[in-house]
Amino acid sequence: MRGTPTQITLTVNGQPQTWTVGSRDMLLHVLREHKYFSVKQGCDTGDCGICTVLVDGEPVRSCMTRIVDVAGKSILTTEGLSAHGEIHPIQEAFIETGGAQCGFCTPGKIMTAKALLDKNPNPTVEEVREAMSGVLCRCTGYVRTNDAVLRAARKLQGEETGPLQPLRFHLHEGETVEDVELPEAYYRRNGDLDPLPPVVITPPDMPETTVVGAAETKVDARKLVLGRPVYAFDKYIDGMLYGALLTSPHAHARIIDIDTSAAEALPGVHAVLTYKNVPRVKHATGGQSPPQPPPYDQVMFDNKVRHVGDRVAAVAAETPELAKKALRLIKVEYEVLPHVIDPMEAMQPGAPVIHDEDDTVGIYDPERNIVHHIEAEVGDVDKAFAEADFIYEGEYYTPKQQHVHLEPHVTLTWWDENDRLVIYTSTQVPFHLRRMVAPLIGVEPKHIRVVKPRIGGGFGNKQEMILEDVCAMLTVRTGKPVRMEYSRTDEFYSSRSSHPNIVRYKVGVKGDKVTVAELYLVGDTGAYGTHGLTVQMVGGLKGLSLYNPPNARFISDVVYTNQPPTGAFRGYGATQAQYGFEVIMEEIAEQLGLDVVQFKGKNVLKVGETMYLAEKLGEGREGYPQDLTTSGMAECTRIGLEATDFYAKRKAYAKQTGRYRKGIGFANTMHGSGIAGLDMAAATIKMWDDGTFFLTIGATDIGTGSDTILGQIAAEVLGVPLEDVIVYSSDTDFTPYDTGAYASSTTYISGGAVRKAALKVRQQILDFAALMWELDSTEGLVLRDRKVIAPDGRELTLWDIGMTSTHQMEQRQIMATASHMSYVSPPPAAASFAEVTVDTWTGQVTVDRFFVAADIGRVINPVTAAGQVEGGVLQAMGFVMSEEMVFDKDGKLVNATIKDYHPYLVDDAPPIDVVFVETNEETGPFGAKSVAELAMDGAAPAIVSAVHNATGVWVRKLPLYPERVWRAIRGQS
């Protein structure tokens, strides 16, 4: 309670309430204390809007509204929308459109929509965009959330709507994508902003499926739109302690001494941790398969800090306020050391040495802060350059981007009744965590259980041990449950970010063929190495494989600086490296007077070709040979050229002379599907006696819809609708192993495991049917529509089989577990098209439209897949246009708030249209590849290409701040 205790009365969701509150308490916190958990917190500083509730019908930010100011007023939260058990049409619309991905922003969106539709039952799309702009969403790209509001308006007026359906084109024998006629709306000739359904183009030879490919609504959608307490953020345990971290105010300093006596003496403080009282166990925090890539350059607490925000101490106390007070009582004596923020300076002789400790092994050159020096080469690069007709060099720069998942890192730990340590946490890698935390806290892995509830977004930042080790240690020391959470500021300073890269390409061309390329990447890993090695290796592989020259050299220096550490970020090095290659390819085409689309098309990796560098560049180790087996790249390009009227616009835009100039750009991109030879997933399916199924998977749905698509894969094999498959993920005690949600592996690797497990269960069902019918074999038996059908027309329902097998005859549990891994990682591919307007007098670039045609193999669920693309594109657009963590000379962030950092808001976003051109990837489940990271890669090169079309200049440094563009137009760097 903050301020003077005061009694107030108010109405919440129609119920009168009398509460004693603090005069300075905020509505958000009081509502959550009273268990209105639909009200979420994304920042607590008024910047995200996800805490929106209605006060007397008006949307307000509950974190910015004092509780005493709403005395006597009527509050409506998402719980109140469906108070009588009936789901509200707005909630229904969010389910139908896939408007709730991770769902953490969804209650705020729904309440804003409610306020809008109460006032304006027939809003235009422009009115929806304006009204909804106060609520940030990091997952959806806003296409489906806007769609949901427009649909809700129609529903409220009585229109019957069902789940959003894609627009489908099934090609017949002899037809190609050129025979597809997209409806006029997809050309967006009038600049309209309406959300359009995704398009799926299916080739003639694609085997038919029923549940796979259907636009099923997400299996978790209902609880998300109802605002149920399904996140770690919503979990509180009676008697728990609150953990808090003291972090460094200095970019680089040695801790001479630390005095915790005053904090420890504070009544209500149960533990204080510092480097003095925790074991010094060297480790890396990246959630990766063992043996984890080196270096092991971290300890739980150190006597040196290496970035502002680095850990200094932790406390556990009975209230959050006490914990903060205790932190203030800790006296730290620092010896401030010189620091270095710039990676090029960090490599210079005499630069401050960031890791001078003698117990970190595996740093390539500690004196020059070079963590890793990577070299890989195929062919004869020097000879090929000597023989090239033309050599072109270019340098590009990509920024340090923060994930800004709206649910912060939250962890709770406790000892359960069996003396096992439960870690209940917002993570992408529960199984890795279990293994990684154990040695740090001195508890054997077998005594640790990690539970992942719903996750409010991750994008790579939860592929990391961030709070789990400290929280667990506090529970070990106190014996009590402990909860820790990051604030938004902590997320910026003390979690992870993408790797900023200096990207240098040298490319040799003979005729119109790229014969040789060299890529030098300088990756700034920040204060610790975590994902430094693997991100850069992926950058090298994906960057150089897109146009796959037979002679290729990759060199990378991964460099320590005194910035907050980087980590995994959707795109994982490929986004940075492909940006450079895509742009330099266009620069070369321009120099040589070639058509850029044809030039790229001629050189892009094609089916049957070997990715030359794949064997040399795995993730942190050697890789495996990879041949491209499927690619819809050419078809994707064709569709995009047509839908954007690319050539006509390019030509027209090249002649502009006025202040405002339009441009259109294009980019090819490719990604991967899991880590070849490393990622592994398992799935278990059991059949209940009622003939329905329970699928348990270690795969981690972080809002992507993976539970849904994995359920669809199981349902397809088992001949049942999705509603007959209950999906549960993930809990290291109760679900089988999975490496986790990263590397675009879930559909391909976890999906492979689910399919295998389902096939085993299917066989058991058929065997049992044969047994019941006394047949010698299962030949000719068909499993579909919840039945086994014999060739002679006899039928057994799954209910019959479940009941009989469980209770009556040769009683047995029909159940199977299967594992899956793959030595190949088939690349999904996309052609991206951006249209922009550039104000040449100010340098401001506005993205007017974005179009993506993607080959992700078989589209298991067109709505969730499109959601991944739309959200990825918008996240990438932030990387191109506005998002960069910027540091001052002292190593402090100058923009550590959502407002200053500025991810895209609803009305910032252009319309994003998605077309899927399916291919049948034989190694993937039902032909699927992957989608989540591919979406990140195309925005940067396509937008930069469009700016070039508009202005004639190349802006090689991202983000495209207006001043950078303005200077480029004036010929200044």
């Binding site: 109405t11 969701n13 129609g14 008024g46 809007g49 929106t52 209605l54 006060v55 007397d56 019908g57 008006e58 949307p59 307000v60 930010r61 910015m64 509204t65 009527s74 509050i75 409506l76 109140g80 108070a83 804003t112 306020a115 109460d118 304006e130 009204a131 702009s133 106060g134 609520v135 104000d839 007098w841 100010t842 340098g843 401001q844 506005t846 246009m881 506005s882 960069e884 910027v886 100058v894 923009n895 407002k899 200053d900 500025h902 895209y904 808001l905 009305d907 910032d908 983000p959 701040y961 207006p962 001043e963 303005w966 200077r967």
Partner: protein, 224 residues
Amino acid sequence: MPTQSPPRASSLTLTESGLLLLPGDAPLQTIVDADNAPALLQQVLRRSYSWQERNDVSIRRAALSPDRGPLWAAALMAWNASILFDSGETASYARYMHRDVRPQGRSTDILIPPEADALRWGVADVARTKLDAPIVSAVAVVEFDGDRVKAARVALTGVWKHTADLAQAPTQLAGQPLTPEAIDAVARAIAQEADPRPNFLGSIEYRRAMAEVLSRDALMQCLA
């Protein structure tokens, strides 16, 4: 279920002195909802604040702490707003924010001239994205007397020590017809007058250049 709130008062009060009263304690949305509020202020509020913010931030707070909505402060300055104190004193909003005057008492409400046929206005800004806070912005208000300028004010953000401030140069337009040439001269003078502080979004040189471009843009809109 809670009942719908009654519709908000849809008009701002006209004071005896012929000014519109923006009630300090009322939410910003009051101005957006009012049928007699100047369209400039409504547009700028929509540009600067989300719907939620307009509901939970009071007019006074937004005026006195304009960091979250600098364009709003610029619009109030250009619109010649004054600030009312519980001592009965009033002060020019621009001068108060510039700390030129320090009236007695606590600020209560804002007073603004009503929309008038003889008033024209324009707004221009540059930002990373449409809804991002402007790097530099300009709001111009020109009062006409027949076909001549009676008074012209251009308030800018991102080019001063303060969040927003009025430029001096536009005063030279008084008594003249507003022409593109006159606007050019004023815009150039504003760029000279500007005293920007650099940050990662704009150097001094860039901000000065934008002061000229955006002042010109805003004034040119007053020509229409």
